[in-house]
Symmetry: C2
Amino acid sequence: MRPDGSAPLGVFDSGLGGLTVARAVLQALPNERIVYLGDTARVPYGTRSAETVIRYARGCARVLTERGVKALIVACNTVSAVALELLQAELDLPVLGVVRPGAETAVRTLEGLSTGTSQAPAKVGVLGTLGTIHSGAYPRAVAQFSTRIEVVGNPAPLLVPLVEEGWIEGEVPRLAVRRYVEPLIAAGAGVIVLGCTHYPLLKSIIAEVAAELAGKHVPVVDSAEATAAAVREAIQAERIAPALEAPSERLELLVTDLPESFEGAARAFLGASAAKVQQIDLKG
Amino acid sequence: MRPDGSAPLGVFDSGLGGLTVARAVLQALPNERIVYLGDTARVPYGTRSAETVIRYARGCARVLTERGVKALIVACNTVSAVALELLQAELDLPVLGVVRPGAETAVRTLEGLSTGTSQAPAKVGVLGTLGTIHSGAYPRAVAQFSTRIEVVGNPAPLLVPLVEEGWIEGEVPRLAVRRYVEPLIAAGAGVIVLGCTHYPLLKSIIAEVAAELAGKHVPVVDSAEATAAAVREAIQAERIAPALEAPSERLELLVTDLPESFEGAARAFLGASAAKVQQIDLKG
């Protein structure tokens, strides 16, 4: 039996970066509530093999389905890239990822920019983890919205630790961003998708460096907003039952580890203190 | 019943960095063989809570004791810092860590430098993960060898990802190293201990930056060598039974994940291609 509309939405990520997605969903849908699971004991997923990411993703999905969520939002780009179709096939509830909404926004952005010009279309540039880029998920997703637009991706493994270290200003993040953005611009990227939930905290540096390299404004797509819009559409299309009245507690936070840096990280991604936090054990 | 001398030594680390320790042990003890376990599916440990590190350490120790190792070498600084006494109490075989040997070498180095001078003794500077530094393990270990020498530690969370990314030359690693080494030199460190198995790959930059900041040579202690010496001493003191003849296969490598970057990382830390590699599952 499907859960009713008053059930929460389940959101999970390898760590706390997906709170940017949870936040965007809560802002877009004021009646909904969320149970968020951050697998902080095993973060990051982006450097792991596909088999391990799939195993971890199944474990996270099981915890949330056992809590009766009405839909699952995979806020982790790596899991969305590697395991989304599998979770959609295995689970008896709607499962949404972050890759497709980000890809669609990027295509629409490029189409908007190129209207009326006759030059060769720009490409979609994607920054992501090794796992996300190597999965080919973004090229596949972009192909669903445009057969003309190409994708160029670059793994950016240092950006997650820079954000986790809180080193999001100054020369080091700028040099790291330049290392990763340069090949995208050189290959003709006209828009850059932030293919990891950690990267929005570096968004302004990424935009500045890209503009500097390209000699013009390069839009930067944050998939949190795009994903929130996709959830709203799924509710409007009645694929997810809507909540009819605003709940008192809107966010329940489950984590698999509570490191010392937890509170600061949660606040950075959520833009507010985390409310109700519970540590759980995740076998396997 | 204790395993006999022909049994292997067990070495484990959160990932592949501990291969620098395995390599030093194999070089120092030509008759010994090693079963190495790298928990690559859950690396890094250094940002996790103590409870989680303890749980992971117990799992790693169990895998190796079930394989009949005659002694356990904890190559991970974070585990050595947080869980060594606990493993020593729980297990019926010798358990050695990397913190004590590194601390001893640092103290001996400082004592050697200050012979004949009357000025205030320099301090031991330690770079390590958050978990290692916050555990206070290095101050405790140094206190066993000197009551006069103080310890100043600084967490350096970006160095592990820099090494894993292979970004060990140029301005970014230099700036990152400077950020972490500067407070140590300012606080009076006269020697720097590399309190993480990843850091030896940045050793020359760390030495250069430290010398530049201090205006004189600052010795850098790599605990891999010191740990190998401690293992040799334990064998000489008959706390570990010696192997009497050289084995054909000297290193067996177990990992919990085999990411794409595995081969390059193994070679970087081991200085050679990894021989026999097997992926295992580690519950919990």
